[in-house]
């Protein structure tokens, strides 16, 4: 999947929000980019791990767990997913 166009980025963003909503039961409308995942949305560490694991499985990517520690906002998470998608794609074509 190429994710460099705006429309495709939007598609990934929507999927990420849907998965967060599925894990946490928070409405997707409340999951805005600048929100702090833990402090604003109240997502606990177990829910974060579960979300990341589902993202890996459903988007067929590998997320670096060390980088996942640095994720604070929804935008950070979207950037991490995007980077992971590009790097997983790169590894797949080696």
């Amino acid at each position: 999947m190429e994710i460099n166009t705006g429309a495709q980025k939007e598609d990934v963003k929507e999927r990420v929000k849907l998965i967060i909503s599925r894990v946490t039961k928070i409405p997707t409308s409340a999951i805005a980019g600048e929100k702090l995942i833990r402090d604003d949305l109240g997502v606990d560490s177990m829910q974060s791990i579960e979300t990341l694991a589902i993202l890996e499985k459903e988007l067929n990517i590998i997320i670096d767990p060390e980088k996942a520690f640095d994720v604070a906002t929804i935008n950070d998470l979207l950037n991490l997913v995007e980077t992971s998608m590009n790097s997983s794609r790169g590894e797949g074509t080696k």
Binding site: E50, I54, E58
Partner: protein, 378 residues
């Protein structure tokens, strides 16, 4: 010993709340709970949870008048209790149950150290004050069998430092806390150490107020994110229903002749992890993961398991690959004469836990998983 006033830390946690229930039910003690945020909503939840663990009713009416809630935090000196309240309590308390702890199997080293090591020191400082100006008889320090770290072979109740290494900061913090206990024993405190294994919900209702490791594994399976689990063929879970665990701890704590001893609160009946995972997936209608046999204790092969899912499996791996045997002779010597026996780990007991997970919305049934998968693959 006839408990008159018990001071409990961690009284809103899974085990702590059941110790409180046990004290209210089977003693005439006044129970003082140290709580970080005693807002009205938290109090209401606490009372509701105690009732729920008791099957939703209380013979003779719920004993609100025997519970005192004190605002404080174990990670603070003097437990963060106002001096005049601290001194009033120090005169009255005759037993301390210290069950507050932060359980994190990955990261959070500073938080874990502050709560589990410094927290224990602050509780024991408070206990010394109780002994000096009041009538304290003993402290019950709730530890964990995980202080045994990566030990192989038999780990005995009177052992602590056997040269083990630790799988995570949590295990090390509980080990360090026990070393502090040894220091305070030398200062004259009578401290019992109880080391539970993996605590699960109520044996009959399955009710739990905390979904720990045992449950999280099922949650990941419900989402279909674990395709494979590395598993030693002899791996077992030592699961203890919380009502039995609290009962065992309280029975031991009531014995007035015990001084400075350690007890493994572990079931006499283990359950094979393989059997449990397969039965649970069958019961809930989930796809069974491949159970990859690992016949020695090599580290988890990193090439096969990478990313966040690999990290999660790496965290779990020590708990499903260990070959240690937890000797519980001392605990059983005290418990058997009182008629206490651990329940057999029949499938019905495990399905009680799963039924509660479904009822509470923590785990979906197969049909719900299928619906969600369709939604996100569309």
């Amino acid at each position: 010993m006839s408990v008159k006033c018990a001071f409990v830390t961690g009284g809103t946690g899974l085990l702590g709340i059941n110790i409180v229930k046990e004290l209210l039910e089977n003693s005439s003690a006044r129970v003082v709970l140290l709580i970080r945020n005693p807002a009205e909503s938290k109090r209401a939840k606490l009372f509701n949870d105690i009732l729920a663990f008791n099957g939703g009713k209380w013979t003779g009416g719920f004993p609100y008048n025997r519970i005192e809630i004190v605002e404080g935090d174990v990670s603070l000196p003097d437990l963060g209790i106002a001096p005049h309240i601290r001194d009033r309590l120090a005169e009255a308390v005759d037993i301390v149950y210290h069950s507050a702890a932060v359980i994190k199997l990955s990261g959070g080293e500073a938080e874990v150290e502050a709560a589990n090591v410094r927290g224990t020191e602050h509780v024991l400082d408070f206990a010394m004050r109780c002994k000096e100006i009041g009538r304290l008889e003993k402290v019950v320090h709730v530890s964990t069998v995980a202080v045994s770290g990566n030990t192989e072979g038999v780990f005995y109740e009177d052992e602590l430092d056997v040269g083990q290494e630790f799988n995570n900061p949590y295990e090390k913090s509980k080990f360090e806390a026990e070393k502090l206990v040894a220091k305070f024993r030398k200062k004259g405190l009578n401290i019992l150490i109880v080391r539970p294994s993996m605590v699960i919900g109520h044996s009959r209702s399955g009710f739990t107020n905390h979904f720990n490791i045992f449950y999280f594994q099922m949650r990941l399976l419900s989402q279909g994110v674990l395709d494979a689990i590395p598993l030693h063929e002899d791996a077992v879970y030592n699961l203890i229903p919380v009502d039995y665990a609290a009962k065992a701890i309280c029975l031991i704590s009531y014995d007035k002749n015990i001084r400075n001893e350690n007890f493994h609160i572990v079931s006499s009946h283990e359950v094979a992890v393989k059997h449990f995972v397969e039965k649970a997936c069958e019961y809930l209608g989930y796809k069974k993961p491949s159970l990859l046999p690992i016949n020695d204790l090599r580290p988890l092969p990193s090439a096969a398991f990478s990313g966040v899912r690999g990290k999660v499996l790496g965290i779990y791996y020590p708990y499903i690959s260990s070959r240690k045997v937890l000797d519980a002779s001392n605990a059983l010597n005290f418990l058997h004469p009182s008629g206490f026996a651990w329940p057999r780990m029949k499938d019905a007991l495990l399905t009680n836990m799963l039924d509660f997970c479904i009822l509470s919305g923590y785990l979906p049934m197969k049909s719900e998983v299928a619906n969600e998968t369709r939604t996100y693959n569309a």
